[in-house]
Symmetry: C2
Subunit: 661 residues, 2 copies
Amino acid sequence: MARMVATDKRVVIESVSPAVDGGRFPAKATVGDPVTVAASVFADGHDSVSSVLRYQRAGARSWAEVPMQFLGNDRWQAMFTPDELGMWQFEIVGWVDHFETWLIGTTKKFDAGLDIDVELLQGAELYAAAADRAGAKAARELASVAAEVGGPGRSQADRLAVATAPEAIALARKHPDRSRASKSDARWPLVVDREKAVFSTWYELFPRSWSKREGEHGTFADVEARLDYVAGMGFDVLYLPPIHPVGTTFRKGPDNTLSAGHDDPGVPWAIGSELGGHTAINPDLGTIEDFRSLRDAAGARGIELALDIAFQCSPDHPWVTEHPEWFRHRPDGTIQYAENPPKKYQDIYPLDFESEDREGLWTALKGVFDHWIGEGIRIFRVDNPHTKAFPFWDWVLEAIREEHPDVIMLAEAFTRPAVMNRLAKAGFNQSYTYFAWRTTKHDLIGYMADLARVSHFFRPTFWPNTPDILTEELQTGGRAAFISRYVLAATLSPACGIYGPAYELMEHVPLRPGSEEYLKSEKYQIRSWDLDRADSLAPVITRVNHARMTRPALHRMNGLTFHPTDNDALLAYSKGMPGEAVLVVVSLDPHHPQSGWVSLDLGAIGVEPESTFEVHDLLTERRYRWEGERNFIRLEPAGVPAHVFAVRAETRNEEGPDDSH
Amino acid sequence: MARMVATDKRVVIESVSPAVDGGRFPAKATVGDPVTVAASVFADGHDSVSSVLRYQRAGARSWAEVPMQFLGNDRWQAMFTPDELGMWQFEIVGWVDHFETWLIGTTKKFDAGLDIDVELLQGAELYAAAADRAGAKAARELASVAAEVGGPGRSQADRLAVATAPEAIALARKHPDRSRASKSDARWPLVVDREKAVFSTWYELFPRSWSKREGEHGTFADVEARLDYVAGMGFDVLYLPPIHPVGTTFRKGPDNTLSAGHDDPGVPWAIGSELGGHTAINPDLGTIEDFRSLRDAAGARGIELALDIAFQCSPDHPWVTEHPEWFRHRPDGTIQYAENPPKKYQDIYPLDFESEDREGLWTALKGVFDHWIGEGIRIFRVDNPHTKAFPFWDWVLEAIREEHPDVIMLAEAFTRPAVMNRLAKAGFNQSYTYFAWRTTKHDLIGYMADLARVSHFFRPTFWPNTPDILTEELQTGGRAAFISRYVLAATLSPACGIYGPAYELMEHVPLRPGSEEYLKSEKYQIRSWDLDRADSLAPVITRVNHARMTRPALHRMNGLTFHPTDNDALLAYSKGMPGEAVLVVVSLDPHHPQSGWVSLDLGAIGVEPESTFEVHDLLTERRYRWEGERNFIRLEPAGVPAHVFAVRAETRNEEGPDDSH
């Protein structure tokens, strides 16, 4: 027999957003950005319902409250703006509001000419009850209203006027009867990150190639000497592949050959040698002092260093001998190397997340983060997090967030959607995406819709290339492809990045046909880059990044609208509020000129129908006067195959006779 | 600092379906129907994952298990068929399967010509471990495999052949290592109902009008005398408005006038008089013996009685004096009548679900159900459940289901979607819908999509009319509208019903223009119906119901496909598996002939492209030979403005030279 639960809580609260898996994982927010909370709140019958949103920094003693606004169809909404980093939570409270029910009903009855004597007595009771719930001063005022509304000797009209005076209503609403209020099932968690978790512009480089003397191993100092180059292009995160000693056992040679020569620097991701592991620095790059100097010099230019955390070991890593129990062993006593049968990766030992000493292993891994956090690093790009156990991420990301809510973790998981989403739920603040492989109009529009569906917890970053990803389009598309892909990345996603100088120097030869690996990849050898090459894309990238920086529309994911074009090689979209909208048109064909008509959704860019308006190309500084919905576009691969327009609607009184506006 | 949770459970299980609000409410199933359970099950890395679905009758000691099948993209699926009514539950277990990982990897390595000696030793370990988990006989067999796989002296090929022999693999799979298995967060509840909860054909009538002597109050016996009429049309549920004594205070007269004459029977929903309340019978209808006789006579014809449960009281209901605390009181001491300001409904007192004696009230209300269940009634149509507190329904529906899992409750809530859905979640087995007001092609297709989204917990019933709903279309559309609306109701939804004989006699005059109330409604007065009228739709309805009964495709919601037509007045859709598909084409225009081309999705109706096939109209018995995708339809309001086709694909060897098939 079912338990008797004779509750008088009549209000149902459901379909709360933002929520991830029913509140099991936090949704994501940005400090200073308003969070819009919505829910279905309703009761049986026709009584009025009221509801409030309550929110707090997790663990705070008190809650802040804001009334929810009714949107229609049982949906309610309220906003709050978290002003501190870290975990927040919110809940929703709703109740049947007999005062509001009475107010609406009695007014209707009076307007219909009915006798409302009994209703006025009810009103007096409701005001008196509000007085009982109020503090001294308000109680006196409410009691006085109650007396006037209930008292005889005055007309019903006069008594109703007292009961419905705006001040009386406002005071009663401050003291509602919430004795039968319902609360939402959960306290919905929300992690509040800093701006760079959402909006950041990354530049990845291999310091090994930044020496001014060709063939010599580059150092932190070499990078520091060229920081103005990176800062000048407008990047604000400088991401370095692993900076630790590189293993020598099974070290890879140039182009991923199995045996390295004596001078080959090896793969930075084959971490650890007799010189140390994940907390040591490869002496070829410099000392810890050199590292700190680079960090500070970057900081002085508004650039944060991001380190690569790759939880795997070369056979020479100190942990292999100090903690053999953290690795899986084969029946012949050897340690299990990485493999993707039948391929072997004998230079890499994976860690065993099923180890009997999981606590020891996990603590050591957290210690790696802690070490670099101690060195002032707050951004980490985590290598292949999808090959480490989810419970580890759940734990370590929560632990680090509690201690250092300003830390940003980027998940480098190029894998299946459920896995990428699960890592974002675990707490990764930013995630690599499939952007590199989304090249057609249909695929790009579809992918942005996919991302919008998970945007409450999954923050994308768009990279047109990485050291592992030289797409076919970049291999074959030439300069136009490199420009248009960066414009797409930088304007579709608030976080983006490139692997340079390969990108701005249009490095495009693959290891072999069909491969996405670079020929002569810096992963295996030292390269030398001529940053001053005349055809470098640095000036264009600088323009794009300047547009990003100066246009708030490009700092967030929301507000994206695609505008139809009559040519599938032209993709048009806008972002941002009317008045600050940015309109982008990109040619997806790097080989031929493309032209066509764009049918603008004028409302999305804040332009009145039929009016003229100015579009100002932030890449070329050209300005065009457009009129109405349909406008012609022509883009040539030889020039800049994209427009990034600031839209400037002209107010009517600048041109027309109507000066009343 | 975050709690250290060094779990080795690497598998994530999420996005489980069917699930309602994360498992808070049960999904719905039908006894004997397979339930398809799906989930995302995945782990970090590249190891193989295995998973099983576990299910049981809630509270059973043991679980049944069935392996889940991998669908791709991290989705898994399994089915089970509940064979008993009541609450069931399921859960999902998933684990990283080192045996499967080994099997795939080792085979690949061997095929690539690699030395697999160490891998064979690993295989021997895995078989030996399986032996440790197995019972005596299997253990011996597995240990013997382990010895052969691990033992030296034979070729690697031979040892691998032993390890990969189908019987060896099958035996190992029976004893997997689930020591690190993950379980889904919840035990997902499922309520298993009987067939009639899904597929039932209802006929509503007011016994008051079924006397053969005009003007006399009809009785149960009068209805019993005409049961063959109802059964003959193919209805299997006979639903009666409230059968209790009707109040006299503020009794309504004909056409909802405020004062009733001496002989006016009053509104059946104004329940209760000095003769009794919700468990009493209106003596004008007969005695409890008459009621039982009707029930049994109906049962003998395959018809179940459904009673109307309206939890509200006339001012004369015994509870008003016995339990004044169950009602809300006004400041002048009177009991609060129903109202929708400024309208008053003084013949009705709502019950107060915020009463201090909630336990007493709720228990009494459950007692009403219990009383009629005791009288052999298993189907209840609940009047306005959305004006009674949700926690009451949560409690009473669970309590009744536990005691009588064969009870079916239909929610009569014509209100907002969130409220209707919440009542279905609370446990109503069937729900009225907006069908009556969905008349255009666009609206009908959209509404079916809306219903599909909630079909795991919300079971619709389609009624083209009710005593409260005479739609504009029926008022103005004549015979064609009555036929086409019933065809739509009866073929789009497995549960449907009509309020008769108003329906088959095409009663269509509203109380006043713009009203959906009937003129001379039986709610307020006794009518006399000529069931033998020449223009009665009974023969057509009989045909439609016969098609419903004999075509399993029409017994379930799933499998609905809309087929494009080039005329918006023609709606075409099919249901059911190839081989038993039903194809329906309905004219939505009751005033003019309509014709056009239907573009069939041949796959959906089991027809080969380009082939000829027969469509057999179950309403007219006409047969047509169709060929290919595009076929012409013409429907006239003067005839039968709909086709309900059984589709009979012709196999090729009946006509062609190919007899190999």
